[in-house]
Symmetry: C2
Subunit: 257 residues, 2 copies
């Protein structure tokens, strides 16, 4: 019998669309991919794909329709502000074939926020526009809320505002078992232990092993990251890697380098 | 008459696929998007879309086929090392319906590089595997080269190795006019100047204007980035923004804040 509060084996997935010419031009270094990825991991949801698309409606529409259909959740960052280049709401509405309407609560939030900041002008009212049927993702930091419509979550592009919106969603989305990980480092070329890694992964079918080489302090090394939903499986797999490294005269560094 | 060395009005485009579970898990913060985007800009090539995909062959194949067809160039980063989780070569070969072969020059490069580093074992020889017909992108830093096959460029995931591969490609790819940009900052809420930005963009059809708000030193501000292939058009558009800001009692900050 499964307790309703127990995460099941079902894997919950999400995708992220980063909307922004400023990322594609190289001007701005994206910070939302890492922050959304990390947050999703804690919710028991796997980030399966990210697309960075320009501020062009057809590009956003294509990405929204491709990704919302094959994931449980779709997040977007960017393009929900008050200026002419903020077109994410219109694009998502177009993708979902919904009209754009003024959300009364978003309007009230903005009216209150801007009461002491020059009042609600037409540009600011743009931030109350939502695809019909949407609900709001409240944001304690600023007036403009994020938007949820069906399985699509529209968030701000400014990373610390997006962080507030994620915080508001914490614990609100159904997820599965979080993907756990453990890292073992070693001062070795990964190409010298490739057989060990491949064979160990094959012998531990609940685990994936990623190998991430680096060059530091004038030496080559690598971190081996074991991922699984089972802490026991990770422990067993990690022990096998450590034994294998020691057997070849190498010293594992638990926790990574 | 057009000089063959003169960039034309044709817009050259590229896409980037970042291969890596470590990005999607949030463990590693991607640095290749910004570096590839910036490098492409200098080559006169526009980065049109980025996808981050997991270390899963079918996911890489789908992204390769979608993006190579609609862009002049497709770049990939990650998954070309010696370990079992490095599957980009196989995935690109599958997408292009090509067999994977050992590239004789890549093998020679690796033999030479590893002669004083323990010799060429089976794992290291994996890095000489290429889709049939590929050429190499030499990499002065390390033995393993990048790979060019048709319009697809496979590069390392480690950012400083990818940088070496980009360096080797500098000036080698046909491009168009570089996209230029100029930034004007202002200590104002972007929602207060949204009309000015929209109307100025409409009046300068060779330019796009992006508005990027921020919160710094306890104040709101924004940078307005004008992009165009024409320096003259950018100058005229920038002047219009500066005049508009001053007309409303705001002080433009040329170069941005």
């Amino acid at each position: 019998m499964t307790d309703a509060s127990t995460p099941t084996d079902r894997i919950w997935t999400a995708a992220l669309i980063v909307v922004g010419d400023e990322i594609l031009s190289g001007r701005t270094h994206d910070k939302n991919i890492t922050q959304v990825a990390t947050w999703l991991g804690v919710q028991g949801i796997r980030l399966r794909e990210v697309r960075v698309v320009p501020d062009v409606e057809s590009a956003i529409v294509e990405a929204v329709n491709a990704l919302r259909a094959r994931n449980d959740y779709l997040f977007t960052t960017g393009g929900i502000g008050p200026t002419h280049d903020d077109i994410t709401v219109d694009a998502v509405a177009a993708a979902l074939e919904l009209p754009v309407v003024i959300h009364p609560r978003a309007r009230a939030v903005l009216e209150s926020y801007y009461a002491t900041r020059g009042g609600l002008n037409e540009a600011r009212l743009r931030m109350a526009r939502v695809p019909e049927g949407a609900s709001l993702i409240e944001n304690r930091l600023l007036g403009a809320p994020g938007i949820r419509v069906q399985n699509v979550f529209l968030m701000a592009g400014v990373p610390h505002i997006a962080a507030q919106m994620l915080d508001a969603l914490t614990g609100q989305l159904e997820g599965g078992l979080p993907l756990l990980s453990a890292t073992i480092g070693c001062w070795t070329a990964e190409s010298e232990v490739a057989d060990l890694l491949r064979e160990t992964e094959q012998a531990h079918d609940q685990c994936q092993i990623g190998s991430y080489p680096f060059f530091r302090e004038g030496r080559v090394g690598a971190n081996f990251v074991i991922r699984s939903v089972s802490a026991d499986a990770i422990a067993a797999c990690g022990e096998a890697i450590e034994i294998g490294l020691r057997a070849s005269g190498r010293e594992p560094v638990p926790g990574g380098i």
